[in-house]
């Protein structure tokens, strides 16, 4: 179409294109210039108690992707229907509680920072669990 013709408004268009490239490549130069933080996914550290128990209320794969919905359902069941017992598909019963006592999520996964926050921070998830609940360890 246009061979070796001159560009009109050259300065402003070149400036615009440089801005465009800067925006598109933002994650790359942001990493190399400013962040440089390790980009690999964090490893979850299981507590001794969790290791001993071998399995959670559901399978690891299920918990990995669905734990938030499970907890959401638990909350509604406890708060609205006052039912506190969860029966998992393999027949075991569990106490539905996030943070109170030894027989709760945090009773087994004792270290919130190592177990919850690591991945949540990595994936920029800020669950509002902690608007109401407190980490039992922080209480002391």
């Amino acid at each position: 179409m246009s061979k070796n013709k001159k560009m009109y408004n050259r300065n402003i268009i070149v400036a615009g294109l440089i801005l465009f490239i800067a925006l598109i490549t933002f994650p790359v130069w942001n990493y190399y210039v400013f962040s440089g933080e390790t980009s690999t996914a964090p490893e979850i550290k299981l507590s001794e108690k969790a290791k001993a128990a071998k399995e959670c209320v559901r399978s690891k794969e299920y918990m990995k992707t669905e734990h938030m919905q499970l907890l959401d359902v638990w909350r509604d069941t406890v708060v609205r229907e006052a039912k506190r017992v969860y029966v998992s598909p393999n027949g075991k019963s569990y106490n539905m509680s996030l943070s109170s006592g030894d027989n709760s999520c945090l009773g087994c996964h004792v270290d919130k920072a190592e177990f919850c926050d690591k991945c949540h921070n990595y994936a920029s998830v800020s669950p509002y669990c902690w608007d109401c609940h407190i980490d039992p360890k922080e209480k002391k």
């Binding site: 246009s2 560009m7 994650p27 942001n30 962040s35 690999t40 669905e66 938030m68 920029s124």
Partner: protein, 333 residues
């Protein structure tokens, strides 16, 4: 059945099947879908986007042709419209900003109708404007939000945006308003194109294809977040791999993720060759980006070739003797 949208729909379905099969086939095809194709798509997007812009920049604009929507600046006692008929660069920038961010000219969209007693009138037709604005703003928000996968640590503005976007705290994982709005808006724009006969008549396959593709992107995105979950931490690790130029595949992330990434790659690669280039083109619209100072400044058509002229001074110089001989008046003796 209309071949124009059927072809587009079939194309998107074939792309979906390709990606799905590739995601299931093995690590090598996951590598192609998750690393090779995204890199190629970005490359094609950037290179041909620039080429397109440079091509436009090389096209001369013969006349100053800003759209005039108000009184031009003339005499001091005639009220002029600084925004709708900008006579200064500031006015142009303000008008451009409102056009790009709020689609002001689309807001003026009117519809001809005949009401009672056969009286014709032009009514405001705002649905296209509403749909388009919802679509573009939601799309922008969604894209910006995705930076959480491409930055580590996640930057504050991005997490702030996420918090605002999930303001209503519906369900877990919290519903992002922008994702739902994007999906609803793209569906609306698609249905509008198909159902309104006049719009369908002027719609081509290249109008339907991006709509179906973006529909697929939004759909697979919503599916991944709310229904058939993927391993988000694995997704971020792969995204960071692309960013840090050490790409690798994380196994067991889920096939929908590859479908989503493949759709986005196709969109990026298709972008510079399609009507989607209005992203860059809006800035180069001569009817919007020019100052309307036709009467104040002389504008010369850039493709004017040099015209040889013979001024009166030269004429007199050439024929002075003959003119004096014939008794004609001359300026210089």
């Amino acid at each position: 059945m209309n071949v124009r949208y059927m072809y587009s729909l079939i194309a998107v379905i074939v792309l979906f099947l390709l990606a799905y099969a590739g995601a299931e086939a093995g690590v090598w095809s996951q590598y192609i879908l998750g690393v090779v194709i995204p890199y190629l798509a970005i490359l094609v997007f950037v290179v041909f986007f620039i080429r397109r812009i440079v091509g436009w920049a090389k096209s001369p604009v013969p006349f100053r042709i800003p759209t005039t929507c108000g009184q031009q600046k003339t005499l001091p006692w005639i009220k002029s419209s600084w925004l709708d008929n900008p006579s200064s660069r500031l006015g142009v920038i303000a008008r451009m900003f409102l056009e790009i961010v709020f689609f002001r000219s689309l807001f003026r969209n009117t519809k001809f109708a005949v009401k009672d007693q056969n009286k014709p009138f032009y009514a405001l037709e705002l649905w296209l404007w509403v749909g388009a604005l919802a679509f573009h703003m939601a799309f922008f928000t969604v894209v910006a939000r995705h930076l959480r996968f491409f930055t580590q640590p996640v930057l504050f503005p991005i997490s702030l945006l996420e918090n605002i976007d999930s303001f209503f705290q519906v369900g877990l994982p919290g519903v992002f308003i922008s994702g739902v709005v994007l999906f609803a808006a793209v569906t609306f724009l698609l249905i509008r194109r198909v159902l309104i006969p006049q719009v369908r008549y002027i719609s081509l396959a290249s109008d339907y294809f991006p709509l179906f593709l973006i529909f697929g992107i939004a759909f697979s995105g919503l599916l991944m977040r709310y229904f058939s979950k993927v391993d988000v931490v694995g997704v971020k690790e792969m995204a960071m791999g692309l960013v840090t130029l050490h790409p690798h595949i994380v196994e067991g992330v889920g096939a929908i993720f590859y479908v989503h990434v493949f759709f986005v790659s196709i969109l990026l690669a298709y972008f510079p060759f399609s009507k989607l280039m209005h992203l860059g083109g809006i800035f180069l619209s001569p009817t919007r980006n020019m100052v309307n100072n036709n009467r104040a400044v002389r504008h010369i058509n850039p493709w004017n070739y040099p015209v040889e002229v013979h001024t009166y001074e030269e004429y007199e110089e050439e024929f002075r003797d003959k003119m004096i001989e014939a008794g004609l008046p001359v300026e210089k003796e």
